[in-house]
Amino acid sequence: MNRRKFLALSAMAVMGLTLAPTLQPAFGSTPRLEEELQKRLGVKLAQIKEVGEVKLTAPTIAESGANVPITVESDIPIDRVEHLWVFVDKNPIPWIADVKLTPMNGQVYFSTRIKMGETSNVRAILKLKDGSYVMATKEVKVTAGGCG
């Protein structure tokens, strides 16, 4: 019961913040990430809109940080998209990779396996032809597997 109430509240809070994303630094950002975003994209995380049309598939828990499979897909038509980036907030170097896309791709799709030093948000960011940025975020919990 309590939790439901909490959930309803947090959902509302989430929506409230999304409606006014520039009021404060985006939740969960790190100085390293902001630095990288500034260097490579020239924007702050708070300026990037999180949208449902970008889909980031990644495991909720990874048994090994050495190899975390991720897939970025989007319904946004390929001729409206220019570039794709993958970042991991808490990695020593948050930038993982970026892909220049063209209409010849037919579709926004990029799948790979990445390294994660610790539990962190993974972000897939698209630059659209109109100069705006959109993204998807997923937290991946890195845990320890095996005998030790």
Binding site: I96, M104, F110, K115
Partner: protein
């Protein structure tokens, strides 16, 4: 087999206008800069830096990457196929290694 060998996999056949997945695995350590625990010396990074995807010699995509990609990288990218042709990937690392691989798709 040495560093840079790999597998490039595409469907052998596709319909005109179909979007297919170009999958690849490349053997590469993708090692970040680190200190050798034994000697304490700095070991420079060794990673793939760039991969280009061509279809019939037209550049489709360029991937830039670093040590954040796992060792022996796997990647998959979409490709729209309008005619039969040759998929080529060309990739290079930060120590001057350059390789390429090709595969064919027949449009039916």
């Amino acid at each position: 087999m040495a560093i840079g060998a790999g597998i490039l996999r595409v469907p052998k056949e596709a319909k005109k206008g179909e979007v297919v997945r170009v999958q690849m695995v490349i053997t590469h350590p993708m090692s970040p800069p680190r200190k050798d625990p034994a000697t304490g010396q700095e070991v420079p990074p060794h990673t793939l830096t760039k991969l280009e995807l061509f279809y019939n010699n037209r550049l489709v995509s360029t991937v830039n990457m670093g040590a954040g990609i796992s060792a022996n990288p796997f990647m998959a990218i979409a490709l729209k196929v309008d005619e039969s042709g040759v998929v080529r990937i060309a990739y290079e690392d930060n120590k001057g290694g350059k390789w390429d691989r090709t595969a064919e798709i027949k449009v039916t």
